[in-house]
Each structure stands twice: as structure tokens, then as C-alpha cells.
């Protein structure tokens, strides 16, 4: 097998030779990508797809996690090249070990929604670290020109093209981005592309039924427990929901069904000690937001940001449920949520196909 090679763009003035894989790591410098792996480093991930074609590479790796997480980069890179170069997969997505309270937007929204839509148990659909084949690059170039690694519909494109997908434990725990951003922006950034993708791929996701696991590479992931368990105080989360309920109910009423609004009304009456957001209600709510987004019932940005207090309500409920639970219980709890999203999919499909405000 040819070894991937590193070529410094600054040093080379001669035409670049074909390479095995390229790597884009916006948070690292070429020097930080240490030997023994030799890869071609692409400084700007925005041109990655073009570079793959130009360099006749077999694929590329994108490492978007913070530099501190990527400190063991040679072995990390090897973890990502193996499924593509040696196992013939077209997309290898990072799957991380993390704590029960890490990646909550992914746990609450992105993972269960994507799993229900595309029928694949990809735990981090928006993972910052992944690798992909030139075949997928070609698909994206044709079907989603202008895609960039951090803004492209990689997963849905791979599913649509019937390409092989797997997960990879990159060998490091997931770290939250260092750059502090407000929650509403994070939610909008997480869901906006996902909802937009739903519109583009409606005929694709509406066909899949139950989800399937995908092959795994690397060490088994595990729930990382904190050194010292901390107390959980959800009162601020519940307060934030209560404020949102008061201020945003009329906004929510434009997209949410009477049944969901009634569930929220009941939730608003619960004391923090009894605060439980039923999975079925949450699922329906997320689907109705997706429908509202599609129907442009209001400014999409406004709609997505209005989800914030609802998301905090879910977090409060989840925290109350799992803060003292064993890792098995946490895993089962999240699995139950995913299954609820899958069970609720017919509702999403029917409302998507026949928009009608006279619904339950």
C-alpha cells in the first residue's frame, strides 16, 4: 500500500504528484501533523473536493476538532485512513467517547433525527472528524457543488448514492469547541443544515424504515465518567423554559400542533422535581419544527432560535433522569429516545407529504 505523503504547499513549486489521501485540519499546522504518516496537507478545507480530483487522491481526511484533541494525530490519521484505503468504505465518521452531559445537542436532536431519517445508527452525524473516498467526493461535486467538508451534506449524499459508511473511534474524547457561542446560534447551526437537507432529500429519507447499525472501527467507545460526580440543579433550565413558554408560546403556536402545545402546557405546570419531557412529545415537537422550517411559516432563523427554551426543557428532563444513573441506563435511555424518533417517523412523513394545518 502506498504511504500517504506530506507535501508542504509552501515548499513545492513543481506540479504535485498524485497522492493517497489529503488531510484538512483547520486547527493544526502542517508541522503539528507529525511523522510517520505522510499526507498532503490542504490548508483550506474549502477546496478539498477540488484538490482530491486534481491530486487524484483516493480520499481525504477532515480533522475539525480542536488542536488539543488532535495531539496524537499520526495514530488518529491512521484510524481514519484504514476504513477508506484498506476496507473500501466511502465515509468513516468519528464516534467519540464522551460524558453523559457532553454533546447534548447531538444526543437530543442531531443523532436521533438523522438516525430516523436515514436509517443508519451514525452517532455523530455532524462529527468534525471524518474521512471519505474520492467516490463520495465525486458524488458531492456533481450533486452538491460548493460543498465544503464542514458544511456539506456528506452523510445524506453517501446514503443517497448507496455508498458504504462506517464509524471510527478516532482515539480521543470529543471536546467542545473552545469558541464560546450562544446556545441559540448553536442550535440554529446544528438544525438549519439538517432541516435544509431534509428538503433536498425528502424522497430519500422517506423510504427508510427501521435503522441499522454500521460497522465500527477503532476501540469501543465508552461513557466517560467525571472524576467527581456533581450535583445537578435544573432549576435554571426549568426557569428558562418557563420564560420561553410565556414569551414564545404564540411563536410556537404557529408551527406546533394542538397536541404538542397541550403537552407543553402540561410541562409548564410541572415542579422541577417532577420535570419530565416525554420522548413522544419531544419527537413530535422536533418533527413539527422541521415541518415549520420547510413551510417557511416564519423566518427560519427566528424559528430555530425559538427552539432554545424547549431544548433546555429537554436537557432538564434528561439531566434529572440520568445524573445518578449507571452508564448502561444512560445508554438505554438514549436508545429509547432514538426508537421513539423512529416510531414517530410515519407522522413526519404524513405531515410532510400533506401539509394541512388541521392536524391533531
Amino acid at each position: 500500500m502506498a504511504q500517504p505523503s506530506i507535501v508542504s504547499e509552501a515548499a513545492s513549486s513543481a506540479p504535485l504528484a498524485p497522492v493517497e489521501m489529503l488531510v484538512a485540519a483547520p486547527n493544526l499546522t502542517p508541522e503539528e501533523i507529525r511523522a510517520p504518516a505522510h499526507l498532503d496537507f490542504v490548508h483550506s478545507p474549502d477546496n478539498l473536493l477540488e484538490e482530491i480530483q486534481t491530486r487524484q487522491a483516493r480520499g481525504a481526511i477532515v480533522l475539525g476538532s480542536p488542536a488539543s484533541a488532535l495531539s496524537g494525530s499520526p495514530s488518529i490519521i491512521a484510524n481514519f485512513t484504514h476504513p477508506i484505503l484498506e476496507q473500501g468504505f466511502d465515509l468513516a465518521i468519528g464516534r467519540y467517547s464522551e460524558g453523559r452531559f457532553d454533546g447534548l445537542i447531538n444526543k437530543a436532536l442531531v443523532y436521533p433525527l438523522t438516525r430516523a431519517l436515514y436509517g443508519l445508527q451514525i452517532h455523530y452525524p455532524s462529527a468534525l472528524d471524518f474521512s471519505f473516498s474520492s467516490k463520495l467526493a465525486d458524488v458531492l461535486t456533481v450533486n452538491a457543488p460548493g460543498s465544503t467538508p464542514l458544511r456539506g451534506p456528506f452523510l445524506s449524499a453517501a446514503v443517497a448514492a448507496g455508498l458504504r459508511i462506517c464509524e471510527v473511534n478516532p482515539g480521543f474524547a470529543r471536546e467542545a469547541p473552545k469558541e464560546a457561542r450562544d446556545l441559540s446560534s448553536l442550535l440554529a447551526d446544528a438544525l438549519g443544515p439538517l432541516f435544509a437537507d431534509m428538503e433536498r432529500n425528502a424522497s430519500l429519507w422517506q423510504r427508510s424504515r427501521a435503522s441499522q447499525p454500521v460497522p465500527q472501527f477503532g476501540a469501543a467507545v465508552e461513557l466517560i465518567e467525571p472524576e467527581q460526580p456533581s450535583d445537578v440543579d435544573i432549576s435554571k433550565l426549568v426557569d428558562a423554559f418557563a420564560r420561553g413558554y410565556k414569551d414564545l408560546f404564540e411563536v410556537w403556536a404557529q408551527v406546533l400542533s394542538p397536541r404538542t402545545l397541550l403537552d407543553l402546557k402540561k410541562l409548564a405546570r410541572l415542579a422541577p422535581t417532577d420535570f419530565r419531557f416525554p420522548d413522544e412529545s419531544w419527537t413530535r415537537l422536533v418533527y413539527e419544527f422541521a415541518l415549520g422550517h420547510r413551510q417557511r411559516l416564519m423566518s427560519r432563523e427566528h424559528l430555530l432560535r425559538s427552539l432554545t427554551p424547549l431544548y433546555l426543557a429537554w436537557v432538564a428532563s434528561y439531566a434529572l433522569e440520568v445524573h445518578e444513573a449507571s452508564s448502561d441506563v444512560v445508554d438505554r435511555r438514549l436508545e429509547r429516545l432514538c426508537l421513539t424518533f423512529e416510531a414517530g417517523k410515519p407522522y413526519l412523513v404524513s405531515r410532510w407529504r400533506w401539509p394541512d394545518r388541521f392536524n391533531p
Partner: protein, 554 residues
């Protein structure tokens, strides 16, 4: 002069069981004298339309002299006709004309209260405490009696007591403060009410709707509703009717749970009919939630009633769609589902007409009407709903559902030739429900109209006595979106199946008990496969429904 056993216009003492009742407001129907207000001569002119529609009994909202602060339910003279609507002679002419068309007529007997302009009240407030005149109403030195009685008109009234400065006392009123309650602990009150009743029965009226009867009697320490003494009074009213008049009917307006309504039938010695209030909102709930459970449950809670008695069924009426007889969660759901705009809400209800509630969807309208016409009871259609009239929520109180009947695209909807600003109410003129397109004339021309459909359904219903007189049993298929029920008499068996969902639904019905029989779809007289031992499969389109006669195969 009271007639001894004066027979009503129908020869059948149980005529109300087969009736199709049409509720209308005289002022809203047709204006014959061009003053902008409907009247009895106008109503008489439209009897042919009503006969053609197929309705068999006309229920007239109050047309008596009144200050009209509650649209006529505040009566100042029980035995006359408000001059805006005509004279007693006009009423008699209308009544005779209705009878000549084999239509019965029901009028209101507002027994619970009068207008504060009624001579009885005017006398009572000036009469000394304890005097016979004073005791026609319910007085107190304080406003603290009967504290457990709820307020019914929550939007406008803060108390059931109001201070009268002339009487120097509080008077009791369960409704508006200008509607003082009559005191049924005073026998003279009942005697007067019976006199009023006899007046109208003598004229030939076939039925009396007793308004607000749960509230006739008050007792401290109770909620002042449905008290035993109320039934003593009703038995006396009924006895007075039966002793002088045959083939008449009393319809109770008792907005209560079914078990609390049951006593109003007595042992066939109180009211002949009673509205089934709790069923109505549950029909809307079931439709919106696409689940039959609310309907099935309330029918399970509905007690058996005497053989000669009958439920009155309705989808909408002149009042708000009342949500008094549902629980808090159901009420919240109904508000969220049917009145997104808070202006649509009034008291504890929703003040909208049938078509707007259903987003003007013809399939939904037909589906709900199919339930109305096939459930056990007598259906009551609200005027204008046969053409899908809209409403105007910007009009105060419940006036938005009491707008002029839309007869044609002519000015004022063909209701009146008066100047538009003289009309008692503006006509509906919006782009969806406006009279220019939505009117009787247009729908008569258009054979696929709601009007034709309603007429056909009424005609179909009248072919089968089972709908008004038969038993009802639910089938409970696993698909909760499907409502299926059997209506039976010894000679007729009908299977009704309704899809409450906006999407097609499959259903398998357990019809083993009818193995060997053949369902014949009623409207097209189409034979369906003979029933076997296996579950009987059916597919229903969005909001689809079937009415099947079960017959021996030909």
C-alpha cells in the same frame, strides 16, 4: 280557552323521534317588510325552501318582546311577538302554513329568568320584601348566599348577585345581570309559566324548548344546579301539558353530563327530549385528534332513557360551542385546536360556525353531518349550516354566528332590500364565506353543493326509522381512527363506518354475528361482499364514511 286534549299538528305522539329539527332566528331568516330585520311573514315565504330541504320541525329562537340585550332571551312579555318580527296574527299564519306542510314548530319557553324590563320585575323591585310581587324573584340582603354556584357568563359577570338600588337588595341571576332569575319556590311563578305555556300550546305550537332548566332552584350549600326541587317543577309543567294537549313535546336545555341530564326525562313524566351537550365537543375532539375514543367514551357514559324519550343531537347552535362539560385538558385541547385566535373564545366556549371550525373542508363537514344524522337521537341543524355559512368574530357576544341568512348574491345576500346600514347585522362578505358566492340560490343551481348533499342526506335518513328509534352498539376495530357502529330495530339493521382521519384508513370489522348478510351501501344502493366468518375489511378515503343496510343477499 284551554283545549281539553288538544292534539298537535302531528298524529304521531312520538313525532319528535323521527324529526329533523331546524333551528333558526326569525330576525335572521328573511325580511319581508324591508326594515332590515327578519320577520314572520318573511319566514312564511321561505317555508317552501325548508320543506324542500326536508326538515320536519322548526325551532324558533325567542321572538317575544324584549330589550334584546341577550338577543331575545331576556323576555319582557311572554305572550306576544316582538314588533320587529310581526304580530301574533303573523305568527299564527306562519304556524298554520308550517303545519300545512307537515312541519312542526317549537318555540322557546325561557323559564329560568326574565328581562329586568318585564313588568313582573319592575313590580318586584318596588314591592315590599315578602310581598307576592317581590317573591317572583330571588332576593337577598347580601351577595353571599349560594356561594357554590358557578358563574356561567364568565366573560361579563363577576357575580350571580346584583344590587338593585330601588329594591335595596341583591337579586339573583345565573346569566346576565339584566336577567333576574324567577323564584320557583313561589307557586305563583310556576302558575304563570304554565299559563304562558298553555297560551302557546293553544295557538298550536308543537314543542317547547325549556331554556336553562338546571338552574331553576337555588339552595345554600349546593351548586344550585339539577336540584331535586327542579324536577318537581318540571313534572308539574309536564303534567299541565299532558292534561290539556296531545302530541306535544318539551325539549330540555340542560348543559350537563349525561348522567345529570337523565333525570330530566323523569319516568317519561318530565321532558320528552334533552340536548346531548357533552357529545358535541367530543365529536370535534375526535375529528381533530383522529381518534374515536372521546365519542365512544361519552356514549358509554350515556344512560338509557325512557322509550318515549329522545336525545337532541347537534353540531352547532346559536350559542358558543360550549366546553363546560369537558375536563380542563380537553378544554385546552379544543381551544388550541379550534380557536387559535383568542377572539373566537367566549365564556367557556368557541363562538364559530360549523364550516369555519372545520376550515371549510367539505369532507369534514359531510363527515360530521353523517354522524349527526346517524347517531341515536334527533338531529338539529343550525340555520345556514346547510350551505356552510361562515361567521364574523368581530361582532360582539355570539352575534357572529347569527348573521343574516344568505339567500343569493343580490345585495344584503337577498335577505332584505333595506339599506345595508339598516340591517340588524352586517352580512358575511369575506372572500371565503361571503354571500356573493356562498348562498342558497347558487347552491340550488349546483348539484354538487353542500345544500344538495344535506337535502339528500336528510331524505335518506327519513327513509330509515332506525336512525331516530334504533339501538346503538359500537364495533371497536383496532384502528382507532375508525368509528364503526350498528343501529338496529327489530326490522332494520344499519352499519355505519366513519374515518376520522384526513388520510385513507383500512379497517377490519368483526361482523361474525351477521355472517351471511350483505352490506348494501345506502347512497348508491351498492352491494358489498357478503359477510363471512373472517373480519370484514373495508378501506375508507379521507374523512370517508359508509352507511350500510344489512340485508339478506338477493
Amino acid at each position: 280557552m284551554t283545549g281539553f286534549n288538544k292534539v298537535g299538528s302531528s298524529r304521531d305522539p312520538l313525532w319528535y323521534k323521527d324529526a329533523v329539527i331546524y333551528e333558526l332566528h326569525v330576525k335572521a331568516f328573511y325580511d319581508a317588510n324591508h326594515d332590515g330585520i327578519g320577520d314572520f311573514p318573511g319566514l312564511l315565504e321561505k317555508l317552501d325552501y325548508l320543506q324542500d330541504l326536508g326538515v320536519t320541525c322548526l325551532w324558533l329562537l325567542p321572538f317575544f318582546p324584549s330589550p334584546l340585550k341577550d338577543d331575545g332571551y331576556d323576555i319582557s312579555d311572554y305572550t306576544s311577538v316582538h314588533p320587529s318580527y310581526g304580530t301574533l296574527d303573523d305568527f299564527q299564519a306562519f304556524l298554520n302554513a308550517a303545519h300545512s306542510r307537515d312541519m312542526q314548530v317549537m318555540v322557546e319557553l325561557v323559564v329560568n329568568h326574565t328581562s329586568d324590563q318585564h313588568p313582573w320585575f319592575q313590580a318586584a323591585r318596588l314591592a315590599p320584601p315578602g310581598s307576592p310581587e317581590r317573591n317572583f324573584y330571588v332576593w337577598s340582603d347580601t351577595d353571599r348566599k349560594y356561594r357554590d354556584a358557578r358563574i356561567i357568563f364568565t366573560d361579563t359577570e363577576k357575580s350571580n348577585w346584583t344590587w338593585d338600588p330601588d329594591a335595596k337588595a341583591y337579586y339573583w341571576h345565573r346569566f346576565f345581570s339584566h336577567q333576574p332569575d324567577l323564584n320557583y319556590d313561589n307557586p305563583a311563578v310556576l302558575a304563570e309559566i304554565i299559563r304562558v305555556m298553555r297560551f302557546w300550546l293553544d295557538m298550536g305550537v308543537d314543542g317547547l324548548r325549556l331554556d336553562a332548566i338546571p338552574y331553576l332552584v337555588e339552595r345554600d350549600g349546593t351548586n344550585c344546579e339539577n336540584l331535586p326541587e327542579t324536577h318537581v317543577i318540571l313534572k308539574q309543567i309536564r303534567a299541565a301539558m299532558d292534561s290539556g294537549f296531545q302530541n306535544r313535546m318539551i325539549l330540555a336545555e340542560a348543559n350537563q353530563l349525561p348522567s345529570d341530564v337523565r333525570p330530566y326525562f323523569g319516568d317519561s313524566d318530565e321532558c320528552h327530549m334533552a340536548f346531548h351537550f357533552p357529545l358535541m365537543p367530543r365529536i370535534f375532539m375526535a375529528l381533530r385528534s383522529e381518534n374515536r375514543q372521546p365519542i365512544v367514551e361519552i356514549m358509554r357514559q350515556t344512560p338509557e332513557i325512557p322509550e318515549a324519550c329522545q336525545w337532541g343531537l347537534f353540531l352547532r347552535n346559536h350559542d358558543e360551542l360550549t366546553l363546560e362539560m369537558v375536563n380542563d385538558e380537553e378544554r385546552d385541547y379544543m381551544y388550541l385546536a379550534y380557536s387559535a385566535d383568542p377572539r373566537m373564545r367566549l365564556n367557556v366556549g368557541i363562538r364559530r360556525r360549523l364550516a369555519p371550525l372545520l376550515d371549510n373542508n367539505p369532507r369534514r363537514i359531510e363527515l360530521l353531518n353523517s354522524l349527526l344524522f346517524s347517531f341515536p337521537g334527533t338531529p338539529i341543524i343550525y340555520y345556514g349550516d346547510e350551505i356552510g355559512m361562515g361567521d364574523n368574530i368581530h361582532l360582539g357576544d355570539r352575534n357572529g354566528v347569527r348573521t343574516p341568512m344568505q339567500w343569493s348574491a343580490d345585495r344584503n345576500a337577498g335577505f332584505s332590500t333595506a339599506a345595508a346600514d339598516q340591517l340588524y347585522s352586517p352580512v358575511i362578505a369575506d372572500p371565503v364565506y361571503g354571500y356573493a358566492a356562498l348562498n342558497v340560490e347558487a347552491q340550488l343551481e349546483h348539484s354538487s353543493s353542500l345544500l344538495h348533499w344535506t337535502r339528500n342526506m336528510i331524505g335518506l335518513r327519513k327513509l330509515f326509522r332506525v336512525f331516530g328509534r334504533g339501538s346503538m352498539d359500537f364495533l371497536l376495530p383496532s384502528n382507532q381512527k375508525v368509528l364503526a357502529y350498528l343501529r338496529r330495530t327489530p326490522t332494520e339493521q344499519v352499519l355505519c363506518v366513519a374515518n376520522l382521519s384526513r388520510f385513507p384508513q383500512p379497517v377490519e370489522l368483526d361482523l361474525q354475528a351477521f355472517a351471511g348478510m350483505q352490506p348494501v351501501e345506502m347512497m348508491g344502493y351498492t352491494e358489498f361482499p357478503v359477510i363471512g366468518q373472517q373480519p370484514y375489511p373495508l378501506t375508507l378515503g379521507p374523512y370517508g364514511y359508509f352507511w350500510f343496510e344489512l340485508q339478506r343477499p338477493s
